[in-house]
């Protein structure tokens, strides 16, 4: 055996020991299920999902064309279009507001970061208690109900016009701590001298913000946008706890993820259809991340 070949193989046992455990877990619980889901997506199963038989790849087209799937995609897109821009704008606003040397600023930063400590279940239950039409806080404030009767009848979470926005508000709130912390860190990474030279050049506060701060925040904002968008597309807990995909019959808050896993989803006892929807969600997310990195990547300054 030549020296080079020997060196090439010398590390193999150690590599097997080091990579083995990760490889087993990733293959068994990520790659195998992906492949299996693709296969299951063209099958029809009995209710217990013990017996499945292939009904053809046309099942994917059927799902794609179905009103239920299209409605879920539309609800998900609307949800993302509310939560991502609003969440981002609030995060930038709060971070800029608190990015000054002032007395007690530490207190405000702590408050603005605080929701990072809430899990989706904690945040959703807090908002459930605010929004619920009978025991909720808002429903028990008299004057508020006189102005907005929808709070009590049928309730913000039960009205098809307000349900999705209400869930979105809860979600924006829950993510705000994260967004604030990330953008604040981004702001602190901007070299002071750049602000100063812009100031010397006579740029006012607003122009310094749009011409210096915002472009240099590019990578941070891209990262935040990507995270918020993927969270929006994967939103489940808040819908499960706040609306159960309803109000019926419009299913105004049934997102794609809820369509797959929700306890009152219309396809809850059809494993084959659930798998097909899951695979289609995967394709959507794949396309979305490609899009985000191509589209936004061009306009991002990475600095040096």
């Amino acid at each position: 055996m030549s020296g080079a070949t020997k060196r090439r193989w010398r590390d193999v046992p150690l590599a097997a020991v080091m990579l083995g455990p990760s490889l087993v877990v990733l293959v068994a619980f990520v790659l195998y299920p992906l492949g299996r889901a693709v296969w299951l997506g063209q099958q029809r199963c009995n209710v217990q999902a013990t017996k499945c038989r292939s009904v053809g790849w046309g099942q994917y087209t059927d799902v794609l064309m179905s009103n239920e799937f299209q409605s879920a995609v539309w609800v998900t897109v609307k949800f993302a279009l509310i939560t991502v821009p609003v969440g981002l704008a609030l995060g930038i606003g709060l971070a800029v507001l608190a990015d000054k040397h002032m007395r007690h600023i530490g207190f405000f930063r702590t408050v603005f970061s605080s929701t990072v400590a809430t899990s989706v279940a904690v945040a959703s239950l807090m908002w459930l208690f605010l929004l619920q039409p009978s025991v909720g806080v808002l429903a028990n404030i008299g004057w508020l109900n006189d102005i907005f009767p929808v709070i009590k009848e049928p309730g913000l979470l039960n009205d098809k016009g307000t349900a999705l926005s209400s869930v979105a508000i809860s979600s924006i709130w829950a993510n705000l701590g994260f967004t604030f912390i990330i953008i604040t860190a981004g702001l602190q990474g901007i070299p002071r001298e750049l602000q100063e030279s812009a100031f010397v050049d006579g740029a006012g506060g607003w122009r310094r913000f749009t011409n210096v701060t915002l472009p240099l925040l590019g990578p941070t904002l891209l990262f935040t946008t990507v995270v918020l968008t993927s969270r929006a597309f994967q939103a489940y807990g808040e819908i499960d706890l706040l609306t159960n995909g309803g109000p019926v019959p419009q299913q105004s808050t049934t997102t794609v993820t809820y369509l797959i896993y929700g306890s009152s989803s219309i396809i809850k006892s059809n494993e084959g259809l659930k798998a097909a929807v899951a695979v289609l969600l995967f394709v959507i997310l794949l396309g979305l991340s490609a899009l985000q990195f191509r589209g936004l990547g061009k306009r991002v300054h990475y600095g040096s």
């Binding site: 590599a15 990760s22 877990v25 605080s114 400590a117 279940a121 990330i182 797959i260 896993y261 899951a278």
Partner: protein, 276 residues
């Protein structure tokens, strides 16, 4: 010339006013939750904004009736196991990809990276069947094993390992310091800050898991705090203060973790912000 951006005069008052308004809005849901959890059941619907009565009984009831202690324990066990394993498996695989020579290295690395593109939502459906057929429903193994390895952590640590000069590794091996020694003496100490961030990230991600525990838990004893809160919500909507007390109890441990590890927090949250 140094730019003094400290606001003065009316500008500083406007800024304070905005800060205070935003703080009130953000704290509002937390405030109402705390107020409700400290009120006896018959008072909770009256003046929901005013803390006009005080009792700790509801918090106590939520703790005992809701079995929150058990749920918190389950969450902690699972999150600690997942975090420990993710750190170990990430170090090991990142090390292998950075310093070892073996055939098909690029292929294996591609497999790891491919898993990053697959969201949980796609795999959990099948993972439930796998866990079921292993007899792992309602067990710690079921809750933890699918998440014991992470391509993300591998990628993150490899980025740091790759900055270590190859010469250093070769010099170390000439000095008789094998791979284990090099890993212990050189590689791991270098990535310690990254490990802190990754550890916190893994812990939070595991602790906050909602969908998976609700999918594989049918016995009350094995609920995590997240699936436990779901249970509390479905059973006790006529006792809103009990649910709110449960919510407070559920939020406290993670608050403590974040205060203790606040130095790792920003890095932990931005760990995904891979430099382009």
């Amino acid at each position: 010339m140094a730019l003094d951006t400290t606001p003065k005069g009316w500008r500083s008052w406007v800024r304070y006013a905005l800060l205070i308004v935003m703080a009130i809005i953000i704290l509002f849901p937390i405030y109402t939750t705390i107020v409700a959890s400290l009120k006896p059941g018959n008072r909770v619907l009256r003046n929901p904004l005013v803390p006009d009565s005080f009792t700790l009984d509801v918090l106590g009831d939520a703790w005992t009736q809701g079995r929150l202690g058990r749920y918190l324990w389950n969450s902690a066990v699972v999150a600690v196991i997942v975090t420990a394993f993710q750190l170990i498996t990430s170090i090991a695989s990142a090390y292998a990809f950075s310093f070892l020579r073996f055939p098909l290295k690029r292929f294996f690395f591609a497999i790891f990276m491919a898993t990053l593109l697959v969201p949980f939502e796609v795999t959990l459906l099948i993972n439930r069947r796998t866990v079921d057929s292993l007899g792992w429903l309602n067990t710690y193994q079921g809750l933890a094993v699918p998440f014991l390895a992470t391509a993300f952590g591998t990628f993150l640590l490899r980025q740091v390992f790759m900055q270590i000069p190859k010469d250093l590794n070769e010099a170390a091996s000439m000095d008789g310091l094998g791979h284990w020694g090099f890993m212990r003496e050189v590689a791991v100490p270098l990535v310690r800050p990254t490990l802190g961030a990754l550890g916190l990230f893994s812990f939070l991600a595991s602790w906050n898991q909602y969908l998976w525990p609700t999918m594989i838990t049918t016995e009350d004893d094995m609920n995590t705090i997240q699936s436990g809160l779901r249970l509390l919500r479905s059973s006790d909507l006529d006792k809103p203060n009990l649910i709110m007390a449960g919510t407070i109890i559920a939020a406290v441990p993670i608050l403590v973790v974040l205060v203790v590890f606040q130095r790792q927090l920003v890095r932990g949250l931005t760990a995904g912000a891979v430099k382009g």
